[in-house]
Amino acid sequence: MNSTNIKDPEYFHKVVDCQYACPAHTPVPEYIRLIAAGRYSDAYLINWESNVFPGVLGRTCDRPCEPACRRGRVEEEPVAICRLKRVAADNKTDDVLMHMPKGPFAPNGKKIALIGGGPASLTVARDLAPLGYEIHLYDDQELGGGMMRSQIPAFRLPESVLNEEVDYILRLGIHTHFKTYVNSMKEVLEKDYDAVFVGTGAPKGGDLPKLPGRWDAADHIHIGIQWLSSVAFGHTDKIGRKVIVLGGGNTAMDCCRTARRLGGEEVKVVVRSPFKDMKASPWEIEDAMREDIPILNCMPPKEFVIENGKLKGVLFEKVKAVYDENGRRSLVPTGEPDELIEADDVLVAIGQENSFPWIERDLGIEFGKWDMPVLDKTTFQSTLSKVFFGGDAALGPKNVITAVAHGHQAAISIDLYCREKDLFERPAPTTNLIHMKMGIHEWAYDSAVVPDQRYKVPHAVKEVTLVNRKMEVELGFDQPTGFKEAQRCFNCDVQTVFNTSRCIECDACVDICPTSCITFTANGEEEDLRTRLTAPAINLEQDLYVSDNLPTGRVMVKDEDVCLHCGLCAERCPTAAWDMQQYLYAVTKATKILV
């Protein structure tokens, strides 16, 4: 293999598994260390710069970082990255405001329209307002936040938390036009906006229009996401005693738990597919089951059963999953009799779609497959150069953190576009490597690796939460538990940096390394090298760090896979050929936020 180019900003970035997996590339270990140090406001600001909604995300993020976390490959469970973020948000003080950009900003003469007030648009607003853009945000709801407000139930995300973080942005001087549904893109384009950002989400909920009985009991059959927003805005405050929720995704989980709080005593989730194939996050399923909601699997609905003009229930078929030789699944009837489950109300939570009825198709904005806008994946620019998309509106329903990541990139594009610059000359990430050595056995980070298992977030008791839909279920870590959980982080951003010219090949690092990461051996092709190491490098997603040729003709090969970043290799190295250096990597934003 060629020797590793550690100057490539992505090499060490990739070693920080959590940060690399985060769509917004939040510097996770950096904020976790700040939490351990009790510097909650600083930890909050690090998050705020990257992901804009730390308090929201610390409660609701889809957390792609956690399955990626290195700790999960070494012991049972990853670091509770997401819930640590909440510790930062819960314990921050008002001094965070001092470090956020403050208006009024000198106008730069450009006007931007943001359609939709969800996390994508709000991120664009935050990144562009400090540059002097005049920003107009349009949303049909009464307040900003998009689906964070209309869909994510208050028992998972208290309104006060959302309001605080939406306000951090609106107070930058954003011109808001709430309760304003935009019904013509043509009209928007006719106004004097220099650029338009579409962040309207994926607002259309899936339905079962052809299922027999669907239209005979329409009053008691609700589309999940419409029903949730009607609950969120106080238009709906009760539901029947027996409720069936159709669907196995996160929306279904929110629907069933909300139904429990609105008078649903016998709430059942019924899913077509087997339990293990359910789309909902495991922790959301767990939370629903904890609220005494049974989940019935392998039961596709056959018809809504109507008796005397009234909904009686839903008739389900019984199926089982059969897999062909390519692993493709099909659901085949088991032959068991169909089952009628009684219900007073049914919530249909079977998917979500984009819909752009308000964008005229003759404006030069091209739509492609599934009626989705044709976009450049890097710049988020549509085929009409002044129109950009982001969030669920760009690539279909995802999650808040993805919407934020899109917002950052779209903001850069809009800024480049308004300054008539090349949209593809994007700013490089900011990177920095800092020596961590303080003494022979002393580092500027806590290098000791604690054996603690993941701590559980405490919950409020059901007796209280099930009678009040706004009562938050999760209580969050207190400070001492937050500290202990923070200590579980391996500090993967503190990199093992190898200096070939200093190495005397004494093997000290090989002998001390607890997880057998290091090998001195003859070079070879990657495939072959991976089998010849102290421990075979079977995780192909993790890179091998290969040195230049050493005096014996061998090379140093380090498998990054399960390195604990404990620093022992560097402590045991007599010549400091190994050094522990903190790698700071930050996605560059349109505005430098933390100065």
Binding site: V74, A448, C506, D507, D511, I512, P514, E571, T575
Partner: protein, 350 residues
């Protein structure tokens, strides 16, 4: 902080035949200097015992005094151990060995511990052919007492303070051959591919197995001009042959060229497979080993690898014709069979 080693190990560590992973052969975290050759030898010993599926409680570690003699704390933490007085490990080993012939004895010593203060003890251990592995971690100096030249320092070798050693060196493998050691090898701490199989073969050998391992002292004897530095040893190392250890149960599948390779059957049924033999050297001919050693020395080379082995050696227990049951398991009635037996013996003399 290196006084704490994380508890986590590589998730895919495999278990050996007795159900242990490599981690089960570790000891406490080392307190030696960073980069000390001795730590690598500790690693090789642990690796060899893991690969041979030795149950840790079946092995006893014995040592004297010195950085080298401290190492038994840093490997095989679940084995027996005795850290004796400076240079006196052989007598403790003799006693332990006579008391319990069922354990595997692993002696660890330094060049000071063996070739200076312990010389008188060492030679008798060889002469009596104790059934033990005797590893000398040879750095040419007294590491623990801050690097004075030892008796194995080569004449002219320059120490850290800059002065050349005026005295002749004692070559421990030469001495071992001369005294009739039945397994003699030399290796280098930085060459685990050679050292691990040698340790395994030494453990399989039924008599005194000496391995002189060059083990640079990074703190006091790794300077230019030293003949025991990493650079010097690497530049001057020659091997008699490459060594593979083939355990008794494993079938030999690789074809070796008869002309340049040799397979030696050990007492317990395992093999040493040697490849690319040095010219005019026969591992079972002590004289050829001495010649090879002298020739290498004349060429300023450090000859490593297996030098001599006498697979069917008669060790102390064989020479003394001791009973099969270890002494420490003999009961009072075995040792003191009673008046009637005494009478019948006495009758025999009438």
């Amino acid at each position: 902080m290196s006084y704490q080693r994380p508890v986590f190990r590589h998730p895919s560590l495999s278990k050996n035949e007795v159900g242990f992973t490599r981690a089960d052969y570790e000891g406490a975290i080392s307190t030696l200097c960073a980069g000390c050759g001795h730590d690598s030898i500790s690693g090789s010993i642990a690796q060899a015992c893991y690969e041979m599926s030795i149950e840790p409680h079946r092995l006893a570690k014995l040592s004297g005094i010195g950085c080298s003699s401290k190492t038994p704390t840093y490997f095989l933490g679940k084995s027996h151990g005795f850290n004796s007085v400076h240079g006196r490990m052989p007598s403790v080993a003799t006693g332990a060995l006579l008391a319990n012939k069922d354990l595997i004895y692993l002696g660890v010593s330094g060049d000071g511990d063996t070739a200076s203060i312990g010389m008188g003890q060492f030679v008798h251990a060889v002469r009596r052919n104790l059934n033990m592995v005797y590893i000398v971690m040879n750095n040419g100096c007294y590491g623990l007492t801050k690097g004075q030249d030892s008796a194995t320092a080569d004449a002219g070798s320059i120490n850290k303070s800059g002065s050349a050693n005026p005295f002749q060196a004692i070559d421990l493998v030469g001495l071992g051959l001369e005294l009739g050691a039945t397994f003699v090898a030399r290796s280098f701490s930085g060459d685990k591919t050679q050292l691990v199989p040698l340790i395994k073969a030494a453990i399989s050998h039924p008599g005194f197995a000496l391995i002189d391992v060059l083990s640079p002292c990074v703190t006091f004897n790794n300077n230019p001009g030293s003949t025991k530095s990493y650079d010097f040893v690497r530049a001057h190392m020659e091997a008699t042959a490459t060594v593979d250890f083939v355990p008794e149960k494993k079938e030999i599948t690789v074809d070796y060229d008869e002309g340049t390779s040799r397979r030696l059957k050990l007492h317990d049924g395992s093999y040493i497979q040697l490849q690319k033999l040095a010219d005019n050297w026969d591992p079972m001919d002590r004289d050829s080993a001495l010649v090879a050693l002298n020739e290498a020395r004349a060429k300023n080379e450090i000859l490593t690898g297996l030098l001599y082995v006498q697979p069917e050696s008669r060790n102390l227990h064989g020479l003394l014709n001791t009973v099969d049951t270890p002494l420490n398991e003999l009961k009072e009635e075995d040792l003191c069979p009673g008046a009637a037996t005494l009478d019948s013996i006495n009758q025999g003399f009438r």
